[in-house]
Amino acid sequence: MALSESQTIRGQFGYLDGLPIPVPLTDKAGASLIVKQIAGRRTQVVVPLFLCSFATYVATLVALSYFPGLVGHKIFGAINLAYVLALAQFAITFLTAFIYARWARRAIDPLVADAFAILGRSPVIRSVR
């Protein structure tokens, strides 16, 4: 989709956080502003998300090796805390990926589409054989 010269692009979320508004986002400079915005937003979300899930993992590892009495505690029949922690790692990983994917779909993908639109290129080359 081609954009008219005067049109200012504004994503679904009004994405010019921290930038002087209004900026005409219709040329290459505008596209690179959007790209900066994408990078900034990603850092804000990715770093805390990563630290949280990785901290849980490290805590699990420490618990498994240094607190054998605790992780050996039986919860249901023969199933002990160690197995629950192992399964929890799968759940946490899945949850992290899910949260990130959902957020990125809403907060990043519209910006990417706008940036591509400004540059007059289609982001999707989906003719797979």
């Binding site: 990603r42 990715v46 998300l49 990563f50 899930s53 990785f54 993992y57 490290v58 590892l61 420490v62 498994l64 090796s65 240094y66 054998p68 992780v71 050996g72 249901f76 029949g77 023969a78 199933i79 002990n80 160690a82 197995y83 192992a86 399964l87 790692q89 799968f90 990983t93 899945f94 992290t96 990926a97 899910f98 990130y100 994917a101 990125a104 993908d109 990417v112 982001p123 999707v124 080359i125 989906r126 003719s127 797979v128 054989r129």
Partner: protein, 312 residues
Amino acid sequence: MIASAHGHLFTSLFFFGFIALSLGLTWWSMRRARDATGFFVAGRRLTGWQNGMAISGDYMSAASFLGIAGLVSLFGYDGLLYSFGFIVGWVVIVLLVAEPLRNSGKYTLSDVMAFRLRARPVRAAAAVSSVTIGLFYLLAQLVGAGAIASLLLPIQPDTAIILVGILMVVYVLFGGMVATTYVQIVKAVLVLCATIFLTVLLMSRFNFSVDALLSAAATASGKGDAFLEPGLYFTNKLDLVSLGLGLALGTAGLPHIMMRFYTVPVAKDARTSANWVIGGRRSLSCDDHGSRLRRCSACWPGYHHCGQQGRE
């Protein structure tokens, strides 16, 4: 020899069928890829789903299947660390690596680093580490693949290793990224189906009770409850933490996995493929768990309830 002549005939047919299929895919994709982008990164036209399944296929390798099942059967809980440590590695990949890598528009990790840093030393370092990682990785894979092939076919393990190695080289050399991708997708689907099937078979013997399964495994191991707790394999406490960190952080350094993120059109698809791996692994791992235990029970001499019948 465990299997009868009849069993060999069946497995050989299946084995050669798969080889024929994968060579067919190689031949087919050989005619499509005409330039560097086509050969190395499949023209950057794979969908997130295809790429995700291919990465899953990379993961469900001979070494991880035989290796983790073997560790669990010998040391119980400690073997599981390999299973959930690997998947935590995908948090690193999804959040920090996948999208920036695709956005770089390069072919390999060293291309990306050479773009940012001084090219010559970076390329030398990347080459050395790739060869080192690849060597150790391939050693384990080839030994595993040789062991499997010599069980399925009436050939010696040594011959099997050489044949499997030649096959791998042929796939990659002639088919490039497109062929390896499709071969891995087929493999991922087959392995997933087989695992689910085995898990259902196993669980049906224990009335679908995980509790009963674990109790039986602990009893038959001869180690009792210790079999279900960490500490049999990692006798030094720091070993477990160190290996756990290595698994989680090292996944993002595997060259053959990372280069798959260059095969999709945009960063969004890189994200999708990583999520497909996690989704696939997640559903797999629940089953995995069971089937690994199934295989361990098959290994224990005293435990023929599963063992004998599983071989037929």
